[in-house]
Point group: C2
Chain length 226, copies 2
């Protein structure tokens, strides 16, 4: 058995966060691509409470929740630091990660929920994007000169959301409104480390359209991506 296994999905941004962390550290792993509409008994065994990807299996021991897995990876393997070393900077990175997470959820709702709920989500997303816009100002990455915790975690904002925004004809996150984030997105998706691992836009669009057909009554289709 491989020492490190990752139960994930090639098109899930949440799963991709963990892949990026493993690749950043140079950890070799076996990738088990789950069919998210027909998950394996092993995934249910290793993540009985959420029944979601990603799950990392290290020497037979499972860990769920991407934020928990990423900190575990950073603490377990040598290589470039994912979190800063200084406790205050670490706290700031962890705080920005929580904001990024809330922002991603609001953006997904803004995209997928009709009516008042969608409008409220747009407002919330805009407020959180404003915070991230300030946070990234004058920096190449949230992690400074190098990609770190917040960059990895924000991959939905950095890549996936642009695709969904186009599908829905939304203009929530544009370079005009958020020039600093726009620059970060360009730098992020074109970074040699990231670019090779992002699933192609047309494939994501295809998956989304198929999943939307099967779940037209479910306004929280984000669950189809984890």
């Amino acid at each position: 058995m491989a020492e490190v296994k990752l139960f994930g999905s090639w098109y899930s941004p949440i799963s991709k966060r963990v892949e990026m962390a493993l690749k950043l550290k140079g950890v070799e792993y076996e990738f088990i691509d789950e069919d998210l509409r027909n998950k394996s008994p092993l995934l249910f065994k290793y993540n009985p409470i959420h029944k979601k990807v990603p799950v990392l299996l290290h020497n037979g021991k499972p860990i769920a929740e991407s934020s928990v897995i990423i900190e575990y990876i950073d603490e377990t393997w040598e290589g470039p630091s994912i979190l800063p070393k200084d406790p205050y900077e670490r706290a700031m990175a962890r705080f920005s990660r929580t904001i990024e997470e809330k922002c991603g959820v609001a953006m997904w709702k803004a995209f997928s929920s009709p009516g008042e709920e969608g409008e409220k989500a747009k407002e919330e997303a805009a407020q959180l994007l404003k915070y991230l816009e300030e946070e990234i100002k004058g920096k190449k990455f949230f992690g400074g000169e190098n990609i770190g915790l917040v960059d990895i975690s924000a991959n939905f904002i950095g890549y996936w959301f642009g695709i969904f925004q186009e599908i829905a004809g939304l203009e929530l996150l544009t370079k005009e409104k958020y020039p600093n984030l726009g620059e970060w997105i360009d730098g992020f998706i074109n970074h040699s480390f990231v670019k090779d691992y992002l699933p192609p836009k047309d494939k994501i669009t295809e998956v989304y359209k198929a999943s939307a057909q099967h779940a037209s009554s479910d306004t929280n289709q984000r669950s189809n991506f984890a």
Copy 2:
């Protein structure tokens, strides 16, 4: 200026988490008791995005979000460890903290939301409580022999919820249904380290009743506690 200041509220379980972490480490601090219905400009300045307690100020630098603050405290000061040292055990503690957090939110909704939303929340809370019931089995505290991250974080479940449950005549968390959690609650609230810092039951009841009168249309009154 004191080196460490905590903007909190004497009756907020979220704020109390941070107080417990500081006391566990033996850190001296100045406590600024915020009026949660008329928050200070300083709180708005230090936590502009959430505008909530708790905020820790260390050497003039602010940190928000209790989970982020607690990890900062553990990394910054000597003394008993709040998180385990072993990376896998740390991951397990962080995972249980996320479950405890979701459980607390569901319990609050079960208590405060009428109709279908409340019923759904009860089911969710029951499922998460089952996880915690298994987690605490055979252990004195979630942290093992000593109080740790999950115990501190779960203080709403360990203390506040019992009071609210009584107010509402709920029987969601009882010793009959969850004997291991029941034992943990007894051990937790009677622990010399905890017992002296819990606000009296009648005072919490008073605050809740006053806040319920002022916010009868707001089903998420948990926001009145942070």
